[in-house]
Subunit: 203 residues, 2 copies
């Protein structure tokens, strides 16, 4: 039986720090994130932070691996695995992106892409961890597309790996456009282009 601690709960503390760090990084970027601000939102102090993480970099790495990866997974992995018509599922997710990913997607963009564009050229550790999430994301898409192709719903000549890469790229680009415009409209406007491309893959 799991025992409930009222006064201390290190796992929950770690998660509180991580969640706050994620929000700060999402809003201000990694370099723009101040550890004092991360802590202010939790009510904790430096002692707690440096007990759970050796330094700011390790906290940033953990945000990628423990928070952002889970967010992408929630939106894409399960729906794709369970979908009867994979292509329809992909299109559905793109169409309802703002609802599925939260309002912040329009104003703050894709948290994975944000970190990728900021940190990939600066820190190889970040780059590798971010790339691992992208690889997972592409793999979930590619496997779903292959299933659709095996079902005969998708054209036989479609290169599923390439299409998966393009979907990730194009969708990321669309979200980025919406973020810069600070409006939902371009996300739908631009997503329509991606969807029309996807429709063209139908058998």
């Amino acid at each position: 039986m799991e025992e409930r601690h009222r006064t201390r709960n290190p796992d929950a503390t770690r998660r509180r720090i991580l969640e706050s760090a994620y929000q700060e990084v999402y809003r201000h970027g990694y370099q723009g994130t101040r550890l004092d601000d991360v802590l202010k939102a939790t009510g904790l102090t430096k002692g707690a932070l440096y007990h759970h993480f050796p330094n700011k970099q390790a906290l940033g790495y953990a945000v990628v691996e423990d928070v952002i990866r889970g967010i992408i997974s929630d939106i894409w992995r399960k729906p794709l695995e369970q979908a009867e018509d994979p292509l329809a599922s992909i299109i559905h997710t793109i169409r309802h992106m703002d609802r599925l990913a939260g309002d912040q997607i329009t104003t703050l963009g894709c948290p994975l892409n944000n970190l990728a564009q900021e940190m990939s050229p600066l820190d190889e550790g970040f780059r590798r961890r971010i790339d691992a999430v992208y690889q997972d994301w592409r793999a979930w898409l590619a496997r779903a597309l292959e299933r659709g192709r095996a079902q005969g719903r998708i054209r036989a000549d479609v290169d599923c790996e390439q299409v998966a890469t393009f979907i990730v790229a194009a969708l990321t680009g669309c979200i980025g456009i919406a973020k810069n415009a600070q409006s939902k409209e371009p996300l739908n406007h631009c997503g329509a282009g991606l969807i029309s491309y996807l429709e063209s893959l139908r058998a």
Copy 2:
């Protein structure tokens, strides 16, 4: 007659600072850019910097308006205006992106997108200036597409504005993927998806 000053040339000094600032911002982001580093590359000092720019923010704004805008214009504006077959011109530019935009495009990404993703949610002044460049870029593409449609080279049912937006988004996304992978391969791999979409617009 333009007189050549050997000892002082404020316009050239301003441009040296701007060019160096562009490189630093391109490499480290705006928040990651240190004014001392910008100056180190020029051999100038704070006195020169703060004579030409009131503060770091104004320098950042000038990088968008005076440097990045020119780079995008060089790559897209003239080729599109002069192209006989606009769609072929677009595809050509995408195919030879690494040559046209320089090697840095693979390792450092799109300078406009970098700043957009970092600064749009943080600074309205940045956002507006970046958005103005995006609007120009889309307009150049949309006008070229309309010309192609009028020529009968592009399908009559194509929404040129929407396609232009999608091209910008998808290409930006492709460059971002290549940057995170730190390799040219995904740029071509991913650009192929965009090109196959563009081919489908042919009449």
